[in-house]
């Protein structure tokens, strides 16, 4: 590595910059955490009160008893465990296929994905409800799983289409010459080479389904089918001024998404791992 004084100053500056970024973006989380530990009924703090006085676990204990958190947590985990892999499967297959098409078909399909991307969510709320009602699947867990059938968002298909375009065509042709079908070429040649895309899509798909309070609100009614974001939203309708319990709920909802990305970026987005992935090309 560089050892010149200038290089060392630059390196120290880089560390300082990274710590500054970390600090700045961590502030909202710290405020949420701190607010969840305040005693109920206190007025909002003047300025920054990092450690509440007194520290109170009241909000957390009420959160775990009041809301049907346990049951909602189980349903949320099951839904995410199904939706995320299916989303990766559907969008990576579509992205790979788009990459294999001739130019006219490819452009049409990419254009279609962009048009689908432009559809605003409110355009689907009422009319999708009417379709679900006609199909008789309102208030069934199916409404939570169905969005995975179209890969949750056209963005994921586009990300995979770009990612697979980076995979050298010779590798796919080689697999074809060796007698592999398209599914085999997708799974054993192309898919491992777009690992960073899969990590990004997986993390984003998890967040999209884990934090989705709109789908259950619109299409589910019975208490047994409450997901975590909906359970936490109920807290707000009970008492809007009860900040501590709402903050505790928000933290409970955010923590799995934070942990997932923490693990994923450490395991899959480190340099050595990618070098190894690209090494396999040779």
């Amino acid at each position: 590595m560089r050892t010149s004084p200038g290089g060392r100053v630059a390196a120290a500056g880089g560390v300082a910059l990274r710590l500054l970024v970390a600090g700045l973006f961590l502030l909202p989380l710290l405020w949420v955490a701190s607010a969840s530990l305040r005693a109920p009924g206190l007025p909002p703090p003047r300025g920054v009160e990092w450690i509440p006085d007194p520290v109170s676990l009241d909000a957390w204990s009420r959160l775990l008893t009041l809301a049907p958190v346990g049951r909602a947590l189980v349903l949320s985990v099951v839904v995410a465990a199904i939706v995320v892999p299916v989303t990766i499967l559907v969008s990576s297959l579509a992205g790979f296929a788009i990459g294999r098409m001739g130019a006219p078909a490819r452009r049409t399909l990419l254009g279609l994905a962009v048009v689908l991307l432009l559809v605003p969510a409110p355009a689907l709320w009422l009319t999708r409800f009417l379709l679900y009602r006609t199909a008789g699947i309102i208030d069934t867990p199916l409404v939570l799983l169905l969005p995975a059938a179209f890969g949750l968002s056209p963005v994921f298909v586009l990300l995979y289409a770009w990612g697979f375009r980076r995979v050298p065509t010779e590798l796919i042709e080689q697999a074809r010459m060796d007698g592999a079908g398209p599914f085999r070429a997708w799974w054993s040649v192309a898919f491992p080479l777009v690992l960073p895309t899969t990590v990004a899509v997986g993390v984003l798909a998890f967040v999209a389904t884990w934090g989705d309070a709109v789908t259950p609100l619109l299409y589910l009614r019975s208490d047994e089918l409450t997901t975590l974001p909906l359970a936490i939203r109920t807290l707000q309708t009970l008492d809007r001024s009860d900040w501590p319990i709402l903050m505790a709920g928000a933290l409970l909802l955010a923590l799995p998404a934070i942990a997932l990305f923490g693990i994923a970026q450490r395991r899959f987005l480190a340099d050595d791992r990618i070098a190894e992935t690209f090494g396999r090309r040779g």
Binding site: V15, R18, L19, V21, A22, L24, F25, P28, L29, W31, P44, G47, V48, V90, S91, L93, A94, F96, A97, R100, L110, V114, L117, L118, V119, P120, P122, A123, L124, L126, T127, L130, L131, P147, A149, F150, G151, S153, L159, W162, R166, G181, W186, P196, T197, G211, I232, R233, Q236, L246, M247, G249, A250, L251, A254, F261, Q265, L269, A270, D271
Partner: protein, 300 residues
């Protein structure tokens, strides 16, 4: 007797394979996105209250929207918010992805930190920002006051009320950051190291190699952020301002919600939704034209 070449083509798994791979996404998208979107487009040509059958009224709903001064105000506010928030989010996400690309001391923590505001539920995040920009108690004005700078009324003042929304939207750039981080990892490292060996400086390497490689990703992200930003304001506005003061934070999603879901006027409500989609489409065409011919992978 059938043409043997044709039979072979039908049997060739490489012919039908790609279409089989596309089928789930294509069918799912058309049934669950295309069809309901089309129905909303049709509803915008009707008078519909959700109970009795819709009545075809041509472009009446659009005339109602065009005559409504509040709809115009909502459109103006939404566009002002859009042009500030989307570039901030994209440039911020790109800057952070470049800064935190390589594992060095502090990178892991900073990456996770940059991701966090994007995953804090919007109700809670809105409450936090409401307090951060509180004119009397909030840390922003306490800091500005201590530095002897003017302390604006932020959400209480129509002149400054949209700024906290832009800041909040910019803070939630985590998803774009993750996508760009992955995109950077997908650039074959040997290409960039070859450029560095050729004596290209960091800025030159970025402009000649990294940026053109990223163009397709930046295009997708900009379009996505435009669509997201257009509808994102619903919950923050509900929690922070309710559209006040003097309608300075009345954005299109709130107007849609009030029209369609509070007053059950789905005709004009759907017309507002179509207006929202048209804004998204116009901005996206602009983005695509801007990016044309600048990328490595063909972005069309």
């Amino acid at each position: 007797m059938p043409d043997p070449g044709r039979v072979a083509a039908l049997r060739d798994p490489w012919r039908r394979g790609p279409w089989l791979m596309l089928a789930p996404w294509l069918v799912g998208s058309l049934l669950l996105v295309g069809l309901p979107a089309l129905l909303t487009l049709l509803l915008s040509l009707t008078a519909y209250d959700g109970i009795s059958a819709p009545v075809f009224t041509g472009f009446d709903a659009y005339r109602i929207v065009a005559r409504d001064p509040l709809a115009g105000r909502a459109l103006e506010n939404t566009l002002l918010f859009l042009v500030a928030a989307v570039p901030l989010r994209i440039i911020g996400a790109l800057g952070l992805a470049l800064l935190l690309e390589r594992p060095r001391r502090g990178t892991g923590t900073a990456r996770v930190a940059a991701w966090i505001p994007a995953v804090i539920p919007d109700v809670a995040a809105a409450l936090v920002w409401l307090w951060i920009f509180n004119p009397l108690l909030g840390p922003v004005n306490l800091l500005l006051g201590a530095l002897g700078l003017p302390t604006p009324g932020w959400l209480a003042d129509p002149e400054t009320a949209r700024i906290p929304f832009v800041v909040m939207a910019a803070a939630g750039l985590g998803e774009g950051f993750v996508v760009l981080l992955a995109a950077l990892k997908g650039i074959p490292p040997e290409i960039r190291s070859a450029a560095a060996l050729d004596g290209a400086g960091r800025v030159a390497t970025f402009r000649a190699i990294t940026l053109p490689f990223l163009v397709p990703w930046l295009v997708v992200l900009s379009i996505r952020d435009t669509v997201v930003a257009l509808q994102w304001t619903l919950i923050p506005a509900l929690v922070m301002t309710g559209g006040d003061p003097y309608y300075s934070t009345l954005f299109l999603p709130q107007a849609i919600r009030e029209e369609a879901f509070d007053r059950f006027r789905y005709g004009p409500g759907s017309a507002l939704i179509v207006l929202l989609a048209l804004v998204a489409a116009a901005v996206s065409v602009g983005i695509l034209l801007l990016a044309r011919g600048r990328g490595v992978t063909d972005a069309d």
